[in-house]
């Protein structure tokens, strides 16, 4: 039974008017905070990746008092740093038919019509200016001979709108945002807390009042109060253990906020990236991404014969199955990620995989090298080929790369409305931490963009609109019963974890959970598998609570305690992911339910019954579904065909 008091419909607060005027209409009518009042407003920004650093810098420039938090030892190390491929913007520099509308359309279609039209349009609308901003900050984007900006095309679109800085676009964009933020630190407008992990959200009277953090260097818990809390804590794809994410990436901040009342949305929608290095043994701790840009010139294939034992170069052309080119002739090797990953899994599961563990497919540059010359390929992808050789010891100019799908990006996250506000007053979610613009599948190079647009262009307008509405007597204080209660509970929960003193490491549980999720809530899902996974996750959680071993105590630097907190949350998030996938009885984007496919194995969307965002509310420890209906006013959802 769903408690009627909790089965509300979340209000997306989409402004009225034609699609192309919605954002300007919002800005026109938004409330402002006068310059001399801004200093009085305290803002907490958790996370200093692209979303957090850009928000912190922009808000501090406006005059607000900003505090930032991150778990790394410097804001510059947030995982945005690892993005290789590029960032999209509808500049139409190539005159190839790009426009804000086309980018909007591509993104909405790429997300399989499971995102809000107005949000997606705004993302496209703000994209062009982001490139201007980044260039002004000194981001050294690739240039043409004439000195103009260069760009390229990326998976799933037919125009060139992806701007890049060698294979280190995320690093360069992040350094731009980090430097802007550090400038504000130097000016005294931002207080940066590194090596501080947010462990709880404090809510009182339905409003976010602040956070509790643990100093990772000495274990001290401290309280921080503010008028608004912005979560920009990134993706939680590390829940799969083997992923392209960094070791510390986590779902803790958003999950603990969820437990304080914030809705999550579509938590099971995870992008599994097609071009990663395959697992080579049980000891493995991460799967490195090889940029998708490689698919512009590399051809993907597997042998036509099962259990092929010849090395790649001895397999003649007619005995190779270029399965993407075969199945999707018009997009070929550039088919979107979900489709490419699923096609690879199909071949691997059918026994055509290659490599030591038969878990990979070939990405072959032979033809590209023959046609364009080694020098050109080296100029385009040299650093990626070097990276490949560093990790595998194999020279990819001579033999094809081995690649395999890996968990990469969380489309799901905290539910937010058009203003990036969660359903808790004063709590916002930005960047990968929220569910917003990407629907059921994110297009390559759109998420650096989203993180930046959220931080540089959206929150500086939507947050003041909220702050200006706060009554004057609303002064943040940490000296309240709510803070006291939360701190006591947090300390007790840390002590409880430490007291278990069992026999298995935290990583043991993390790996087991990751495997369960890959098997049952990964590229392909079924009711039977998901039900099984839910039961197994419950058992695993029980086991964890009885048998995990965390050496040491809480008043010191304790890496295992940090990891244990994150994995404890993952063990709850994983269950909700499976429930989310189970209740969505259709296939859309990255969510592929085996029961819902066409005769030729393509995803079968069920618009009539499932055009909604699955939002999850936590009631007495249980996940309860509430729906935000998706209405399509401007584009009629079509079949998402890339054939």
């Amino acid at each position: 039974m769903i408690d009627p008091s909790t089965s509300f419909v979340p209000d997306p607060k989409v402004p009225p008017g034609p699609l192309e005027n919605k954002w300007s209409n919002f800005k026109k009518t938004a409330r402002l905070v006068s310059p001399n009042n801004r200093k009085k407003f305290k803002i907490i920004v958790v996370g200093t990746g692209l979303a957090g650093a850009s928000a912190a810098a922009s808000l501090a420039e406006l005059g607000y008092e900003v505090s930032t938090f991150c778990f790394q030892d410097s804001p510059r190390r947030a995982h945005s740093v690892a993005a290789q491929g590029g960032v999209n913007a509808a500049k139409n520099y190539r005159n190839d038919g790009d426009s804000v509308y086309r980018m909007f359309f591509d993104t909405l279609k790429g997300g399989d019509f499971r995102a809000r039209e107005a949000n997606v349009y705004r993302l496209a609308e703000c994209s062009a200016h982001l490139i201007d901003q980044a260039v002004a900050q000194g981001v050294p984007f690739a240039r043409e001979y004439g000195g103009y900006l260069n760009n390229r095309s990326f998976g799933g679109v037919q125009v060139s709108r992806t701007f890049y800085a060698r294979g280190q676009t995320g690093q360069q964009l992040l350094l731009g945002a980090y430097q802007a933020m550090m400038r504000q630190v130097g000016l005294g407008n931002v207080k940066s807390h590194t090596r501080h992990e947010m462990l709880d959200l404090v809510v009182e009277g339905g409003q976010a009042r602040g956070i509790l953090v643990r100093d990772l260097d000495n274990g001290k818990i401290s309280r921080h109060a503010a008028h608004a809390v912005l979560l920009a804590t990134g993706g939680f794809g590390k829940i799969y253990y083997l992923s392209t994410l960094a070791m510390g990436c986590n779902g803790t901040a958003i999950w603990r906020s969820h437990k304080k009342g914030a809705l999550t949305a579509c938590p099971s929608w995870t992008q599994i990236h097609p071009t990663c290095l395959p697992q080579s043994g049980d000891y493995q701790s991460k799967l490195t991404l090889m940029s998708e840009s490689l698919r512009n010139d590399g051809r993907i294939w597997v042998p036509k014969k099962k259990d092929e034992s010849r090395p790649a170069h001895q397999i003649p052309e007619q005995e190779r199955d270029y399965y993407l080119e075969r199945r999707y002739p018009s997009f070929g090797n550039l088919a979107p990620r979900d489709i490419s990953s699923r096609a690879a899994k199909e071949r691997i599961d059918a026994g055509f995989g290659v490599g030591k563990m038969k878990n990979a497919v070939y990405l072959d540059f032979e033809e590209a090298i023959r046609e364009q010359g080694k020098a050109t390929i080296k100029r385009k992808y040299g650093n990626l080929f070097d990276l490949y050789e560093k990790i595998t010891g194999i020279n990819a100019y001579q033999s094809p790369m081995l690649i395999s799908p890996a968990a990469h990006f969380s489309m799901g996250g905290l539910w937010v409305d058009y203003e990036l506000s969660t359903n808790i007053k004063g709590l916002y979610a930005l960047g990968e931490a929220n569910f917003s613009d990407h629907g059921a599948n994110r297009l390559g190079a759109n998420s650096l963009l989203q993180a930046c647009v959220d931080g540089y262009y959206v929150i500086p307008y939507t947050l003041p609109h909220f702050l200006a509405s706060l009554p004057k007597e609303n002064v943040p204080s940490t000296d309240t019963p709510a803070f006291e209660r939360a701190e006591n509970q947090l300390k007790a929960s840390l002590d409880k974890l430490l007291a278990i003193k069992g026999t298995k490491s935290v990583d043991h549980y993390h790996k087991a959970l990751g495997k369960l999720l890959y098997d049952h809530c990964g590229l392909s899902r079924s009711a039977e598998g998901l039900q099984k996974a839910i039961a197994l996750i419950k058992e695993l959680r029980e086991d964890f609570n009885q048998n995990v071993m965390i050496p040491g105590h809480s008043q010191e630097m304790n890496d295992e305690l940090e990891k244990a907190g994150r994995v404890a949350d993952y063990l709850e998030i994983g269950e909700q992911m499976c429930l989310d996938a189970l209740t969505r009885e259709e296939s859309c984007g990255a969510h592929f339910r085996e029961e819902y496919q066409t005769a030729d194995g393509e995803a079968l969307r069920r618009d009539k019954d499932f055009s909604f965002v699955s939002c999850w509310h936590r009631v007495e420890g249980k996940s309860v579904l509430v729906k935000e209906p998706l209405t399509f006013e401007f584009i009629q959802p079509t079949e998402r065909s890339y054939k």
Partner: protein
């Protein structure tokens, strides 16, 4: 593979540390160096012993969080690579491996192999930026930058802030780190206006933080994972005395 490990253990910033011996077998050549440490830690943890604390995050050579002094070299046996990219195939079965933290007065040890590199953030906060507010920027293609200039600026901008340059310098100088940012921004038209102010305040901050002087031995560029050239230090000096 089997290894004898000599690992620096130090409980916290204020207590003295020492090298502790460990033995580890069953290591596979394709394991990364950090996965080898994971394996050791797994063994320690199930015995209820404190695992070895070491820095890492992305494990793909870009975040700059990892950094170990392995057999007397920053980031281990290869040139121009991060610790997370070192694999066990680089060692011989039966080898003894010394594992220590990066050492420099600017980088105090926090615990075991972890050091505090927040001094780098302070250097950037002193001037490692272009003073442009969000929303002020002109159309990107109104600033033309030749391919060569963009590439040269990138070479400097590629720094990951790992601190291997400091750790491998006998004077524990932060010249390469600081010079890379100065050179990146000074080469671009957008960054030229503030170049004098930038170099003066960043160099002043670097000196204040207790980093040593550069005596041009070039040890830093050998260990820099991004291969950043010491020619940027010359650029920094030119900018300074201009």
């Amino acid at each position: 593979m089997h290894f004898k490990l000599k690992i620096w253990r130090q409980p916290n910033r204020h207590t003295k540390g020492n090298l502790v011996d460990y033995e580890l077998s069953g290591v596979e050549p394709d394991m990364s160096f950090l996965e080898m440490l994971d394996m050791l830690n797994e063994k320690l943890i199930v015995n209820g012993e404190a695992p070895v604390a070491f820095d890492h995050d992305c494990r793909e050579g870009i975040c700059g969080q990892c950094g170990l002094f392995i057999n007397g070299r920053a980031h281990g046996p290869h040139d121009q690579i991060t610790t997370c990219h070192v694999h066990m195939r680089a060692f011989k079965d039966g080898d003894t491996i010394f594992i220590e933290p990066f050492r420099a007065s600017g980088f105090p040890v926090q615990k075991d192999l972890k050091v505090d590199r927040s001094a780098f953030d302070e250097i950037i906060a002193a001037g490692g930026f272009i003073s442009v507010n969000t929303g002020q920027s002109p159309e990107a293609n109104s600033i033309l930058i030749s391919q060569d200039t963009a590439e040269a600026a990138f070479d400097a901008a590629a720094c990951i802030g790992c601190g291997a340059c400091v750790a491998s310098c006998k004077n524990a100088s932060a010249a390469l780190f600081t010079a890379a940012k100065i050179s990146h921004l000074a080469q671009l038209p957008q960054g030229k206006l503030e170049r004098k102010k930038r170099v003066l305040s960043m160099v002043k901050k670097m000196d204040e933080l207790g980093f040593g002087a550069c005596s041009s031995t070039g040890a830093c560029e050998v260990e820099c994972p991004q291969g950043i050239s010491i020619s940027h230090i010359a650029t920094m000096n030119r900018e300074y005395f201009k």
